[in-house]
Symmetry: C2
Subunit: 133 residues, 2 copies
């Protein structure tokens, strides 16, 4: 398995844990020793593993399956670190996410998740539409 495959598999494991509301699997996804943080959509950054995992336990507490799917995942490799940009599709909303990983004990584990709406807010700087089409 290439590093790219490994990173994309780690990213897929995150969305699988999310979609299945599996708090234990979500815990396995995240780094044990490296510093972790998380930006849930529109919220301030949560810093530290305890706060991040508590937020996930609360989000996933409802159990059952969540209608979230990941698409357009692209891995960007940085040696022992990597990040993935992707889209998250939910009923009525498309989010854009960045997931950052570091290699810990031989496998890529998540150290940061940042997701926000994929719709341009007013007053925010952005390139002309021609730039990305």
């Amino acid at each position: 398995m290439t590093d790219e495959d490994e990173v994309l598999a780690a990213n897929a494991a995150f969305y699988s844990a999310f979609a299945e509301s599996d708090a234990k699997a979500m815990d396995v996804v995240w780094a044990r020793r490296a510093p972790v943080a998380c930006v849930h959509p529109g919220w301030e950054a949560l810093v530290g593993r305890d706060r991040v995992m508590e937020s996930w336990r609360r989000i996933l507490r409802g159990g059952g399956s969540s209608p979230i799917t990941c698409s357009s995942a692209v891995a960007h490799l940085l040696g022992e670190a990597a990040f993935v940009t992707c889209l998250e599709r939910l009923p009525g909303a498309t989010l854009i996410a960045t997931n950052f990983f570091v290699r810990e004990d031989g496998r890529f584990r998540m150290v940061h998740h940042h997701a926000g709406p994929a719709a341009r807010p007013e007053a925010a700087p952005a390139p002309p539409r021609t730039e990305i089409n």
Copy 2:
């Protein structure tokens, strides 16, 4: 200068280049060899240095100063990589950003910028408000 100081200085250099519409300084901030990407608020991910720098040249082309300020910056160190979470304040909008850096030729350079609105969208998963207050 500690690694934390260096990362926060690199983050500050990014916002200084942004605020001063200095495309040359912005170019210096970004990594030369490592893969780079960028998520401007609400847009799809731009992948590759050429596309990312072209987007910045367009954003900064107006010249003059931009009323953007960075606050609440927190550096998270991962050896030869690091990320910063921070708030971006603009007239009428507060954005939340994650900026990723890797050490390249002895200094931290940006490999990814992801900014989005710091206001909760409907239909997006988020922890209860009590979680972050």
